[in-house]
Symmetry: C2
Subunit: 310 residues, 2 copies
């Protein structure tokens, strides 16, 4: 089934304790669609790049089943550029440069042939831009998921609340969940957040995995245990992309299907962080992802029935 | 099967954002044996208290199947006293008072009738005291587990290394694992630590659950999702006690049995933090623990077979 994503396509320059990247391709929209493409080759991306953006990269997207007619290229525009440096623990980072460029005036336009897409993923963008996309759909999608970040909670909480009201699923990290809910306990935070609109919530916890809250039920997915995280950039977006890719491919919105989608997202994200940028996602195949999904299953599987008393 | 524990029995005074306790009963040995008593009523505790320690508490221990003949009561001695204050996030705390008292000169003596115990738990004490207990055993236990803390890594690393060589299982938290291994990734840390002696390792991650490393395999147990943590004191010891209690009761050292023991420890610890001190552990029954073990199973259970391609 069709999956439509709105999200940034960008240039990134990244510094980690392990090294420094050149100016490479990044952006939420890039990571989400690339990650989803392992499961679904019927995708559209709504975004904006500058004339400096390599057409080769757009061609690679196309070759992976990503429709790029929704990517605007304004005359004379320059692509969004972000550069940042990760601290030694890889859990925090400093932004060194943010040049919004074409993203500053981005007015998303959903192509006609995606206005009935049953799956819609709103990557991290201003809540107003996210809502504009929802309003352009001819038919209410079966699932609308969104990402956001603390930045929007700081400067656009009211707009964020408006957008939360029109989505089904919010995907954020633990720090953001605490900021949005003013609660420390993630279980209590989840209850507060779901009162704002979304009937499902995923809280990402980095190396500690992710939690899914859905209609009164809860699921804890582990993170794939890695010897080393080389570059965390794009991990959250790859997770969301793997999740939405799996869901939109299987088309099943049951709790068990959401669980497997979480495991799929976790597996894809674990590859993303092994090299700079999208490099690792461009190298792997669906079989590699399936293998890690099996490892994640073994990692948490146990049989209580072996214990008579339970 | 017999489970022998060595660990402190203490008075604690605790401050959390929710309130302040009186001078209550605490200590690693207390929490471990109390937690284990749900699964095993054939336990011994080697410890030391002062003449100020209430005999009523010792009688409660006895009534739960804990042999207290190994608890010394030196004449004129005062019981170990600790007081501390938790920060708002409950993940860190300041020690306000530490009065070692009788613990300062504690020379553990294993009662004759526990010298063949097949399960031995070394609670957090100086590595030298822990090793003294191991050396008093007539027969090498089937499983020797130990706890330790960063304090001993700071002041007695050499002695700690000696003790690590004679145990099978080390139970520590993530911060301690990183300090002991000088590695950030917990997977890499585990490999380094197991080179020091223990063939099994449990890394506790508080609200994020615990990891078990055992003979090249790995298992991730979730923490029971609570609305609120009221008092984290004793959570780690309750976890270890629940784990060892289950294992020593079933007597099976297979990987699946270790997994269930981890879930048992996780369930017991989740009760411990709901009230001050040992209060909650004294209220609950084994059925309550079984119920949370089932919830923990549901929390992580998923079927990949529903997904054709895996």
């Amino acid at each position: 089934m069709q999956l439509l994503t709105v999200g940034s396509v960008a240039f990134d320059a990244i510094q980690t304790p392990f090294g420094k990247s050149d100016k490479i391709i990044g952006g939420a929209g890039t990571y989400i669609t690339l990650a989803a493409s392992f499961f679904n080759q019927n995708q559209g991306l709504v975004s904006v790049v500058g004339e400096d953006f390599p057409s080769k990269t757009l061609q690679i997207m196309k070759s992976r089943g990503i429709d790029i007619t929704g990517i605007q290229i304004p005359k004379g525009g320059k692509t969004f550029f972000w550069s940042g440096r990760y601290h030694n623990d890889m859990n925090s980072r400093d932004t060194l440069t943010t040049e919004l460029n074409v993203l500053e005036t981005f007015d998303p336009v959903v192509p006609e042939h995606f206005k009935n897409a049953p799956f819609l993923m709103l990557g991290n963008l201003s809540p107003d831009v996210q809502r504009k996309v929802v309003h352009q759909m001819d038919q209410r999608p079966a699932l609308i998921a969104m990402d956001t970040m603390n930045f929007w909670m700081d400067i656009a909480m009211e707009e964020l609340h408006q957008t939360l009201k029109v989505v089904d699923l919010l995907i954020i990290n633990d720090e953001e969940a605490r900021q949005l809910s003013h609660q420390y306990s993630l279980k209590t935070a989840a209850a507060k957040i779901m009162e704002l609109g979304p009937k499902s919530l995923i809280i990402k916890k980095g190396e500690h995995g992710a939690l899914l809250f859905h209609e009164g039920s809860m699921f804890a997915a582990p993170a794939f245990p890695l010897d080393e995280v080389f570059d965390p950039t794009g991990a959250g977006d790859s997770f969301a992309g793997g999740f939405m890719g799996y869901l939109s491919c299987c088309g099943d919105l049951s709790f068990n299907s959401l669980k497997i989608a979480l495991i799929a997202g976790s597996a894809v994200a674990s590859f993303c962080v092994e090299k700079f940028g999208t490099q690792r996602l461009e190298e792997i195949a669906i079989e590699d992802i399936h293998e890690r999904m099996s490892v994640l299953h073994q990692l948490t599987h146990f049989e209580l029935s072996a214990y008579g008393a339970v």
